[in-house]
Amino acid sequence: MSLERSDVEKIAHLARLAVSEDELEAVTADLSNILHLVAQMETADTTGVEPMAHPLHMVQRVREDAVSETDQREKFQAIAPLTEEGLYLVPRVIE
């Protein structure tokens, strides 16, 4: 499986990653090589095999619907890039 530059541009957009023009060629080659490695999976016959999502066959635990966390907004926002009056600031979305 070889990728085109346009494929990589699309993937990078889906992943919200800026990939510069200079990097694009090398990234396309690297990703194609990794997909060649991954293509070895095609040699395996998996007819009738159940997918395994998790090593231990366990079910999701549920907890009591009770408050377990305390409010630590100030502590958590102290490490944020930009906040104001308890809100996280990002560039204007709606003009």
């Binding site: 494929d7 990589v8 993937i11 990078a12 889906l14 992943a15 919200r16 990653l17 800026a18 990939v19 510069s20 990234v27 690297d30 990703l31 090589n33 990794i34 997909l35 060649h36 490695l37 991954v38 293509a39 070895q40 999976m41 095609e42 040699t43 395996a44 998996t46 095999v49 159940e50 997918p51 395994m52 999502a53 998790h54 090593p55 231990l56 366990m58 999701q60 635990r61 907890r63 630590q72 502590k75 958590f76 102290a78 490490i79 944020a80 890039p81 930009l82 996280y88 990002v90 560039p91 204007r92 979305v93």
Partner: protein
């Protein structure tokens, strides 16, 4: 002092031969003299370490018997430490001061272990050489210019160089075992779910597992005793009792059936490594074990399968790094999309970006069945291989890695070549089994690791089997020149 085992140190502390403050100072001095050359630490916590040591000394004087009380350790920089920078080896988190402790950190703190600092690692634990760190590569104490392995390379190098007594690591595809092998130390990846992932920065959630890195199986047992156990804050934490790991260390190995997979000793393995492994297996036969040839026929599918499962899960986990709530933010974003794209594009290194993109591709519309679903089915086949093997044997043994430590830069140009250095360790994560690496006969002065694989929750058995070899041989006591 820095060559003693945890048990010896615990006795010395109680006999008043030395204090935890002195022990901590000794290690801080060693860090000051050797870290500039090795680069195995991202943060050194001198002030808080000495405070913790003083507190430990008071608890010791008050009669507290905890084995880890006052023992200096290092945490891999993937574990959140309240008030201390937790970078995960990434520019993305270079400014991140964790607001809480990981479960493992909390447990070791309660046990009175002293945290000397945080160790260098491949960015977000993605790598097998420690070259993918924002903070530069770590040098192997056995040979400057050689890699320590990865991703827990800083922890492995620090333990081997006696900069700490023991360290924590994490293992998603071999990240405890392979650096343990390259640096000549003992590393254990527990069964998936044995050690809580709470506060351990997520890479691939169905594979990630934390574990101890130490200079002997006995020391690793002491650490695991504290680290293991159920934690309600990790949704996949195992609700299984934790056995007394020290109690079974001295069980004899008479009648132990050791499975040796033919796929692990074939093509691609250096002959000298095969010889070192055979030498260790011969020693096990002398200790009363029996060797059984087994087959793990889907071994060759481990690496391809892993490079779908791990990137898919990482692409999802790492979507949280968006430049909004914490971590790196690009300067002067034009709009929200530009903020996301440039913060991530500038904050992540090349390997992390590759894996995010592979994962994004594998999970994108139209490709899910061919990649992720197919990989999950093969994961079942790989897991069944082990299940069948463990009906015939008690433990599986083979090499940890196909080579000894390679040179910095040697494999950096080609990601796929690098991926193949985890060929023997990856299947263990896919199956969720416990695995261990212990040092055996070195080659040209470079360490070689023997991998031990156990059945689910058989950590006590692995530690026992490793300890018995370490009682009969002294490969694990070898110290790199210049670090005696």
């Amino acid at each position: 002092m820095h060559n003693k085992s945890i048990a010896e140190l615990a006795l010395g502390l109680r006999a008043g031969e030395f204090t935890s403050v002195e022990l901590t100072r000794t290690h801080l001095d060693r860090i000051a003299s050797h870290n500039p050359q090795l680069n195995c630490l991202i943060s050194v916590c001198e002030e808080t370490a000495l405070q913790e040591a003083e507190l430990a000394d008071r608890r010791i004087r008050a009669g507290d018997a905890g084995q880890l009380l006052g023992i200096p350790i290092i945490h891999k920089d993937i574990f959140c430490t309240d008030g201390v920078k937790t970078s995960c080896g990434s520019k993305m988190l270079d400014n991140f001061i964790a607001p809480y402790d990981a479960h493992v950190v909390e447990l070791l703190k309660q046990a009175g272990a002293v945290m000397l600092g945080k160790s260098n690692m491949d960015e977000f634990a993605m790598g097998s050489s420690n070259e993918n760190s924002f903070y530069g590569p770590v040098h192997n104490p056995w040979q400057a210019g050689a890699v320590p392995g990865g991703s827990s390379g800083g922890s492995a190098a620090a333990v081997a160089a006696r900069l700490c007594v023991a360290a924590t690591g994490t293992d998603t595809g071999g990240s405890i075992r392979q650096p343990a092998a390259f640096c000549g130390i003992t590393g254990l990846k527990p069964t998936y779910g044995r050690v809580s992932r709470y506060g351990m920065i997520a890479f691939a959630s169905s594979l990630d597992q934390g574990g101890p890195m130490a200079r002997s199986a006995e020391d690793a047992a002491t650490l695991l005793q504290v680290m293991a156990g159920f934690d309600s804050r990790d949704s996949t934490s195992a609700e299984q009792p934790v056995p007394d790991y020290a109690a079974t260390l001295n069980d004899d190995l008479n009648g132990l059936r050791i499975g040796v997979p033919k796929e692990y000793l074939g093509e691609g393995l250096e002959t000298a490594i095969a010889d070192s492994i055979q030498l260790a297996l011969d020693e096990y036969v002398r200790l009363g074990a029996e060797l059984v040839e087994i087959s793990l026929p889907n071994t060759h599918l481990g690496v391809p399968t892993y490079y779908v499962v791990a990137p898919a899960e990482c692409s999802s986990n790492l979507s949280r790094f968006d430049g909004v709530r914490y971590g790196y933010r690009c300067s002067e974003p034009r709009d929200l999309e530009d903020l996301y794209k440039r913060s991530r594009g500038e904050g992540f290194g090349a390997e992390v970006k590759r894996r995010i993109m592979i994962g994004t591709y594998a999970l994108s519309a139209g490709y899910y069945d061919a990649y992720y679903l197919k990989a999950q089915k093969i994961r079942h086949l790989i897991s069944d291989d082990f299940r069948a093997a463990f009906e015939r044997v008690d433990v599986i043994m083979g090499p940890t890695a196909p080579s000894t430590a390679f040179g910095i830069g040697e494999k950096a140009a080609d990601p796929v070549t690098m991926y193949l250095s985890d060929i023997y360790t990856i299947a263990v994560n896919l199956a969720g089994l416990p695995g261990m690496s212990i040092p055996v006969r070195p080659i040209n002065g470079m360490p070689v690791g023997l991998q031990l694989i156990g059945n689910y929750f058989q950590e006590a058995r692995l530690l026992n089997v490793a300890h018995q070899l370490q009682q009969a041989t002294n490969w694990h006591t070898a110290t790199p020149a210049g670090f005696e």
